[in-house]
């Protein structure tokens, strides 16, 4: 590997050295500037063309399609707010929306607590920490299909090891998990937490690095207990990381799809029907592109609104 003096030791913390001197210097001339612009665009263009066509354009056309009655056969006709009116009165959509929020309400706190807990445990000089880190991270790089098959059997009401353990612990009639309307969503939330906590743990570990060690030392000298130090030093120091994690976690929970699709396919009944799946059903199964697009706009707005609200809260908290 490379070892030049220029090599930054730590990956990721952008050094203060932004784009430096050259472009600011006194020899700046308009001709120079045009040329520089051209060079800049030429670097970005190959990616931008792909990105623009495959991401930006679909996002923009989404809004247009949502105002039409487009399906796979006909041409698109402008129907104004008809799709949205239908959406507001569609009990299936209400179910999907509520289920999504229910899933978020379980997954977000659960993942936040477990990943932070793991990060705190591993942020020590214990021997074997590297092994535990690997173990925690491994579910994240595993395919969803393998996860689905394995967890489906682990959660199996009669033969599953989970219920076997619960019976041993004295729960005589443990839940039916994925086959039960009440327990299917908690089961999915547990699997999601299991899969992703290693990923968020890595983010928290990186954040813990940024907490100044001197503050801990000072607090210790002043006689603060470990718990007091956690609340007075660690938690405030982790604030930017927590903020970031909550945003990513919220977006990922709102758009939950593949896990649901392979675990329960929305069932039993509509107990785990979520927004993404509602969109998928109407778009790719019933071919009602217009109506599904209106539901997509709802998901889009939900994600954006949550993100903006969190940014606003964060800013207010910072100002205090």
């Amino acid at each position: 590997m490379i070892t030049t003096a220029a090599e930054p030791p730590v990956f990721g913390k952008p050094a203060a050295a932004g784009p430096g001197g050259h472009w600011f210097n006194a020899h700046w001339r308009p001709r120079h500037r045009t040329r520089t612009s051209l060079i800049g665009w030429s670097f970005i263009l190959p990616n931008l063309i792909g990105f623009g066509v495959l991401t930006l354009y679909p996002v923009l056309s989404l809004f247009y399609i949502s105002f039409t009655n487009w399906n796979v056969f006909g041409t698109a006709q402008w129907t104004g707010l008809a799709n949205y009116k239908r959406l507001v009165n569609d009990p299936m959509f209400h179910t999907a929306l509520l289920n999504t929020l229910y899933y978020c309400a379980m997954t977000i706190p659960l993942t936040l607590l477990t990943s932070l807990g793991l990060a705190l445990l591993l942020n020590t000089k214990l021997r074997g920490a590297a092994f535990f880190r690997t173990a925690a991270f491994f579910p994240y790089v595993t395919s969803i299909v393998a996860i689905a098959v394995v967890w489906n059997l682990l959660f199996s009401p009669q033969y599953g090891p989970v219920n076997e353990v619960l019976r041993v612990l004295g729960w005589s009639s443990p839940p039916g998990w994925l086959t039960s309307e009440d327990w299917a969503m908690p089961a999915v939330a547990i699997i999601s937490t299991w899969q992703y906590m290693g990923y968020y743990m890595v983010l928290f570990l990186a954040g813990l690095q940024a907490v100044p060690q001197e503050l801990h030392e000072a607090a210790r000298v002043d006689g603060a207990s470990a718990v007091q130090r956690f609340f007075a030093v660690t938690l405030p120091g982790l604030r930017p990381t927590t903020f970031f994690v909550v945003i990513i976690l919220t977006i990922n929970s709102l758009k939950v799809f593949d896990l649901i699709l392979v675990m329960t396919n929305g069932g039993p009944g509509t107990a785990t029907l979520v927004l993404s799946q509602f969109i998928y059903q109407d778009g790719f199964v019933n071919y009602q592109f217009g109506y599904a697009s209106a539901a997509s706009v709802a998901l889009f707005l939900l994600s954006i609104v949550f993100t903006v609200v969190q940014f606003a809260f964060n800013r207010r908290g910072m100002a205090r």
Binding site: G12, A15, S37, G40, S61, S143, A206, I279, F284, F300
Partner: protein
Amino acid sequence: MTTELRLDALRAAAPRHRPAARRPAAVALRAVFYLLLTVCAVGLLMPFFWMLMSSLKSANEVFTAPIHWLPGTFVWDNYVQIWQHSAILTWIRNTLILSVTVTFLQLLTGSFAAYGFARVRFPGRDLLFLLYVGTIAVPWQSYMIPQFVMFSKFHLTDTLYSVMLLQAFGAFGVFLMRQYYLTIPEELLEAARLDGMSEYGIWARIMLPLSLPALASLTLLTFTTTWNDYLGPLLYLRSPGNWTLQLGLQTFIHTLYNANYAWLFAGLTLSVIPIAVIFGLGQRYFIAGIATSGLKG
């Protein structure tokens, strides 16, 4: 020599425990720590262990109550059977084609664009970058329909190209590489410019070699994501000849009788092993890449 990545620095900076290991309280604390960690590790890894063991069981041993953690006899034949009773070779081939192409395109266009964003100043650059980052808050699920409609207009659905295009130009690669490029000192580029090197030359001959750790992170993350992707192939690849490993195995489940579950587990194990190996070898790059960007999810 290896480049020190983030988490190694992190461990070095971890709280220094006072050398009090001999005090009973400290010993107890340490024991509790290990106990907690072991419980977590068992919980996290148990499903994999169970998958591996089930892939070596006889057909009716997979579902037994009480559960058998270890196979009675090791049935290695399951791994032969899955090969013979499914098109797993085609699935692996398709998955490899997709993963390699997507990774290559993402690396090439991502690092190229990242240089433009990080090191060349021009009007509109920062706004454009904001747009790139902004799309990260937009779930793919919300624009999969217009995207699909567009692909079908170009008659690209049910081809491997569709999934390649779907994944190759993500904002993620650009973002990750840009973050890294910003850490490379400007003086170095300045010196190259004075020597008459063009911006393209600087990218190819200075930036790329210097950003090997970031390139490694991006390679591993992109490869793994594409290898594991289920939704893209599900929507776009309809004919069995185009199926990926994930799609093939998922379909295989639905055509199964209980008797063949051990084969399925063999197939699943085969699909996880390459990623496990890659992850084992390049773990530090995975972690550094995620700690840097935090965006893959």
